[in-house]
Amino acid sequence: MPRPARPVRAAVPGVGIGWRHPHYAELLQNRPALDFIEVHSENFFGAGGAALAVLREGRAHYPVSLHGVGLSLGSASGIDPWHLDQLAHLVQAIDPVRVSDHASFARGQHPGETGQALHAVDLLPVPFSRAALDAMCANVQRVQDRLRRPIAVENLSAYVRWRQAEMDEPEFLNTLAQRSGCQLLVDVNNIAVNALNAQLRGDTADPLASCARWLDAIAPAHVAEIHLAGHVHCGDIVIDDHGSRVRDDVWALYRHALRRFGAVPTLIEWDTDVPALAVLLDEAERARAQARHALRPPATTPDAVTA
């Protein structure tokens, strides 16, 4: 199957940061140079109040990327209509530059009470099966029909793997994008976390090379945003905690991703032990520097995967 051509993009990507509660006031006051800010949609589902007022003010100064963690796009039980209503209202109010969520599931039924809904409020993996793909395509389509715009769907860091697999993750995501018309949000850190855990269980000797292969298998035309974050090694497992600076290996993969996907808008995520705003802005500046390095004309760029 021919791969789509690399899309035409700007010379350097727009870079944004996750805008979290500790930085609400400071960002509005200082208005640092950022191409966009990102918030978690569900934190602004209320009908009104201070949080929504702050987001409206942020929107007055920056493009906003609405990133969801709760649509549960992979659930066999479908999309919660209430959740979709809230998201639709928020999209209407904020006019975001992008809307995204994850290739995950969370919804089901309470184990003890028949019929009672349950939402795990987590990003649980789905099997890379045709059945899961069908379910996710239908759910994504429903969301896009309601929002009247494409959404971007993000790859997970997954800590368990289903026995049932009829394709690999890039094929699952590519097919999802082809069939539903959605975009892809490539979280480079999540790929690294999965590969490092594969290394821990002896499935790969070269996690960076397997990450590069993963990126190479993704169709560039679908990629709408890249996420970068920190992770932590806990000895027996690597956890995607969003609690530290982006690691060098992930920067190397980011450069690889940019060379393949072009100047895709890039987000610095930091959700645990959120540091001073200046640290996030410094990470954003590092992302710009990495992008300039990666996207230099080929004549001056050694094209090796420096990973």
């Binding site: 569900e42 934190n43 589902f45 209320g46 009908a47 009104g48 109040g49 201070a50 949080a51 929504l52 007022a53 709760g70 649509l71 549960s72 066999a76 039980s77 919660d80 959740h83 599931f105 969370a106 919804r107 089901g108 039924q109 309470h110 184990p111 003890g112 028949t114 009672q116 809904a117 349950l118 939402h119 795990a120 409020v121 987590d122 649980l124 789905v126 099997p127 099966s129 059945a131 379910a135 997954a158 800590y159 368990v160 793997r161 289903w162 026995r163 049932q164 855990n197 821990l200 269980r201 806990c234 027996d236 497992i237 956890i239 995607d240 905690d241 969003h242 995520e269 959700d271 645990t272």
Partner: protein
Amino acid sequence: MRHPVSTPCCIEDVLEPATHTQDNRPLATQQQALLRALFARPGRPEAGADDEAIDGAPLDLLDAGSAQTRRGLQAYQANGHALAERSLGAAYPVITALIGADNFARLARDVWHSHPPTRGDMALWGDALPDFLQASEQLADVPYLADVARVEWALHRAASAADARPDPASFARLGTEAPEGLALTLSPGTALIGSPHPAASLVTAHLHGVPPLDEAARRLREGLGEHVLVWRQGLRPRVGAVHPAAAALIQRLLDGCDLPQALDAAGACDAAAEAFDFSTWLTTAVTDGLVTGVHRLTAAGPNAPTQAPLP
């Protein structure tokens, strides 16, 4: 994103090494098996015999018995617990202060397993806490906790209620129109909680230092009950104790009654009805943002609950 916190749990019991090779289980069954594993109470891995009879499918994971898979499930469980503690703590800061952070963390995990979220908005999760506290035998000697929690939950929900649209010009209707069928418009998020304990004093003492904690403690010792009013002043959630007659009036307005009916209720209030002066109360209520205008009652007036209860 998740938290690298380990959690003691009987993962071994929920991981059943699959003896089959048939991998065509319905997606819903697979997902339900993972949810069941994650929400199994520590020490009680199978969430219920009934459930087992309905869909007792084993968790069909690769390397199901491996240390890494166990660790992975623990990571998800730890993430859920951390989320529960963080979300519930944000809604109930006074309960946290009253019982201590460690006890509160245990409580949050208990509620997570006994009343897990039904929706993907954690701001909606935690409404079960007041009844959970009330039913707790261990907390029988602190019976005021449940009402304090009810007040905190009302404050939490008021914080994200719809923004009021004050209509100052509408107050002229009180002088120009027949009062029957007219009602006062209350700020969104308004809630009344009648308590045999000084629940408002306990909350405001912890949140704002008013009254001082020792004064709140004195009111508690003396068995002083309070009518607690929660409302929104602009974007700011407010809480305070109100006069019994004002409570009766506000309750009628919340119930959808018109102003004459609400005033009748206030007048019928035994507790010092003479001390309640409506026009003085109204001036303060408008200043404080509690009353935002005057409207004529329709089938669904503006005082109807703006946030429907969860099904």
